[in-house]
């Protein structure tokens, strides 16, 4: 009798263990730079902090080179059941989109120029925002309402400046000023990267 009870107990443990095995979470797959292209824009996906990923219910995984491309896919396929991942700007760790904090800054370069980067904790997002002027810290919820404007607008502005280049010296000065800003922010990014 005692032996029997022990067997039952053992069986229960095994069943529990098996059940635990079946309940595994959705995991992101590694980026393969040789073959992975962005589902939306067809560009090769670099294995860097800008890569994002969606895993569908059937296990199919799709990668994107920019978080903006992923949101374009989401808005076109809102009825699909999916798990979305982004990566930490500093250590490239995969994080669930809902747990990430985002920083939007028009002078941060991203592959498709959506100028959005992601962080695993709010503190590092905020410190990046503090170091780089023009940053907006956002949560995943706020991201849903983001306009996903690419630096197109910036470009239009630049074009205007270019045309007036030859006409006025003042504009030229503005132009130079902007170029300095640009290189500043660039250096700031670079410093951040070298901390890794």
């Amino acid at each position: 009798m005692k032996r029997n009870r022990f067997n039952l107990f053992g069986l229960a443990i095994i069943i529990l263990l098996l059940a635990a095995c079946g309940n595994d979470e959705v995991q992101p797959v590694d980026i393969n730079e040789a073959t992975d292209t962005c589902e939306v824009c067809n560009m090769q996906v670099a294995n860097d902090q800008h890569a994002t990923q969606i895993v569908l219910e059937n296990g199919k995984s799709m990668v994107f080179d920019d978080v903006g491309c992923m949101y374009e896919w989401i808005s076109n396929n809102s009825d699909e059941k999916k798990t979305a991942f982004v990566r930490d700007y500093h250590d490239k760790e995969w994080i669930l989109v809902d747990e990430a904090t985002f920083v939007y800054n028009p002078s941060v370069k991203t592959p498709m120029a959506y100028n959005m980067i992601s962080f695993k904790d709010t503190a590092s997002a905020e410190s990046f925002a503090a170091e780089n002027e023009g940053s907006t810290v956002m949560t995943a919820n706020e991201l849903a309402d983001h306009s996903w404007e690419r630096n197109q607008e910036m470009m239009e502005k630049h074009k205007m400046e270019d045309h007036s280049h030859s006409h006025s010296e003042e504009m030229d000065e503005n132009h130079n000023e902007e170029s300095e800003n640009h290189s500043d922010s660039h250096e700031a990014n670079h410093d951040d990267e070298s901390h890794e």
């Binding site: 073959t35 824009c41 090769q44 120029a113 630096n151 197109q152 470009m155 070298s194």
Partner: protein
Amino acid sequence: MNVLKVILATLLASMVFSPSFFEASSPLQMKIDEAPVGAIVEIDAGEYEETLVISKPITLVGNGEVRIKSCEAEPVIAISGEDVTLKKITVEHCGYEEEDTAIYITGSNHRMEELIIETRRYGVKLDQANGVTIKDSEIIGMKRGNGIDLWQSNQNTFEALRIASVSDGIYLEQSNENLIYKNNLENSRYGMHLMYSNDNVLRDNLSSSNITGTMLMETERTTVHGNAFLANKNSVNAQGLLLYEAYETEVIENEFISNRIGVYIEKAGNNHLESNKIRDNFIGVQMKNASDNKITRNTFVGNVNEAQAIESSKNEVNQNYWDAASKVDVDGNGESEISYTADPYFLTLTTDVPEYQLFFQAPGLILLQNLLKSPPEQLLTDSAPLMEMTMEVEKETSSSLGLWVMSIVMIGASFSLFIIGRKRR
């Protein structure tokens, strides 16, 4: 003891004075600083390990084999201001940091000629540089970082360059009215890659063995004329030319040969493909969500799939030559009375389940394709295919003699088996 002290003192002294000694061994920057505006500075043959900053209009010419090398974080040569000329110099950056760059250029009207640039990351960066000419040079990388990288740089000329083993051969972002002429781009990720850039001209370039020969994304009014896109097929995502959200592109008289996809057009409109030779590709032209494009007078020969279109409508496709089309010309105007239709059935089928590619041209699949016709708005139909090619297409005749010899040997071998077999009985 005294002798020892003297030796120690001299040692110390040499260590103290050594910094000035190092400065003296950086003669190039001193030469540059001393040179008056407009001067021609000749560099004697040899290897120089230093970084240079040039901000005034002077000319630097290598006299013999000159190699300037650095592994520091700064660019090997940083150029700003106006009218700086570099000639006959080899520049090497040996650093592995992500942004390491051999030559950094800003300002305007600089000229780079006969340079050899070796880099682990970026070759040349143009940051708000205008009117710069880079020609007759070579850039070799390690597939990390772009050969030439433009950021907000306009009206530059890149001519007769050979760029190999980099990420993107020539990358343009927010850069307009540049001319890319007679360059050779190979073994890289993308040969030419334009993003958010307008009115650029790509002429007579050769882009071969890249993942994508040329990629135009978010561009307007690009001219792609007389280029050759060859053997861009070494990746499952390879193609000769990719137009993504590109508008009003003129693609004229180019050759697309032996690519996985010759021309791939997605979400793009008002582009014009005329008189191109599209030969021996897996898919000649593929369109996805593309409308209002005009494809005319092209020659499609020897492609596995000539053209496929999904969710694309209102494209004007006519007067192309398709070698697979059944053609009948009744009124003798050189155009066939039977329209030619490319059915996207196979592509739609394989998008979700790539494994179905195994059934390519399987009889069952062709039957299915004929039974379950795709909706007419998804078809790519040439309303009036041409009877004759619009250009000369070289026929591969060289191998036919070999084929004959091989056939005769095989026939002889098989007959000899019969003969030997009979004798044994």
